[in-house]
Amino acid sequence: MHIPRKDWLRVLTAHPVAALAELSGRLAAGWTLTYLALPQAGLGLLKLRDGAFHEPYYLGEFPIACCRVRVQLPGDVAVEGAAQVMADAPALAQALAVLDAILAARLPGWQEVAALANEGASKRAEEDRRRRAMLAGTRVDFALLGATEEDEDEY
């Protein structure tokens, strides 16, 4: 399954933090990580467009963890990865940034990350399916009174 880079973070975060940290730590063992932006947690401000007049306003804040890293492999191969994830754990952002670099440059072990991403995509698809079911199962079927079987059941 081909998953575009813009969706990597969503599918990978379908997994527990520990699983991501373990994979990232294991694959990057022996590589040199240089932080272009240190792993950090803080807040982001959510800017929305209001539905009435399309004016911008701030709805509130959310936790955000960020990291940008250069991954240097033996033999002068260097690639950049980054992550901005809604969480208050810098370690999660760091793990995701490394996995981002691995997938982007197909560094050794990328197949494992891709497999995890595919598994995460299935989990997210199931989550989306449940939400759509909430809509589909409660869709209002407007009809004139007495024109449906439902009416016969009720009276």
């Binding site: 880079r5 813009k6 969706d7 990597w8 973070l9 969503r10 975060t13 932006a37 950090q40 947690a41 803080g42 807040l43 982001g44 401000l45 959510l46 800017k47 929305l48 467009r49 209001d50 539905g51 009435a52 007049f53 399309h54 004016e55 911008p56 306003y57 701030y58 709805l59 509130g60 804040e61 959310f62 936790p63 955000i64 960020c66 940008r68 950049e80 990865g81 980054a82 901005q84 994830v85 809604m86 969480a87 208050d88 981002d100 982007a104 989306d128 399916r129 449940r130 939400r131 759509r132 079911a133 909430m134 809509l135 589909a136 199962g137 409660t138 869709r139 209002v140 407007f142």
Partner: protein, 369 residues
Amino acid sequence: MGYVAIKGGGRAIAGAAEVTEFLRAEQGEGSEPLEIATIVHQLRHLVSRVVSEGGVYHPEFAALSIKQSLGDTLEAAFALRAWRSTQPRLLETPLLDTANMRLIRRISSAFKDIPGGQMLGPTPDYALRLLRMELIDESPESFRAVARRWLAELPEERLPDSFPKVLDALREEGLLPPVSEHRASVAFDITREPLVFPVPRCAALSTMARGETGSLLGIAYSNMRGYGDVHPTVAELRVGYLPVLLPHPVTGELIEAGEVLLTECEVVAMYDAAEGGGKPVFTVGYGACFGHNEVKAISMAILDRALQKGMRDGPDNPSEDPEFVLLHVDGVDSMGFATHYKMPHYVTFQSDMDRLRTTQRKSRAKESA
């Protein structure tokens, strides 16, 4: 007369904290502490109130604050705001559009046939408000069977991920005022700037978005009952998950950093003649908040509409007065003011008593003279 420093309450204060903690665990042997995930899932509306009134979308920490405050929503929102005040502000999202929400509920009281259809989703609107006695002795097995049964019967109907806005259809027909000319301007950050009146509408929206549900409802209700003139029609009420998009630091492409559950309401109210004698159009109001809280979103939309009138023509009633509404809807502010009266006021009250006794003495002297 000045304030006098006193001491002696330290042990009592420590004891009060211990007693409160004891009450949390009083159920005793065999009981289990509330798990954070349990609060997040089974007390969804309580968590929704706290994330929205705390102003930070962090359901786990909202659940934690609910747990430590024994379910007091004002205290919980206070703790969440205290936590946020320790956090650095790292970034701001680009302007996000709620048309991209992944909906779980969408209704309109304006039209039965809205583009995409009406879906009730999770709602108690049509339920009888009768106590469900069977939940008193609900077993873990029957509890788990509820979710299992629902998941086994998922309809396979393919639905789109997002739906068009009802207001956009009305606007296309020329029934609504045009969108703001100031839409590209910077929004007002109420966490960094004080509310000095007059304030722009975006400051009012932000203030109400983290306002206390009951306060917003109370003032909106005063308008609906007759102190104001907003009799709205809900053009659309939607509940769902908004993807939070941020530019990837390396590629610049927008990526989804996570999602927030939010409730959004757009109301249409009685039409106005346009300024300068243009064609009359409906007036509109907008409300939104973190979490699933429909009463809050509807109340906010009504107040937005009322405040627009107050900002334009001057207020005719409290709900149209920006200063009255915006300075009195914050739960943490108003709770702090109310509870500060529990703090020692020994010196000021002594002064009040002295003045009263002096006045009484003078009054008696006057009567006997």
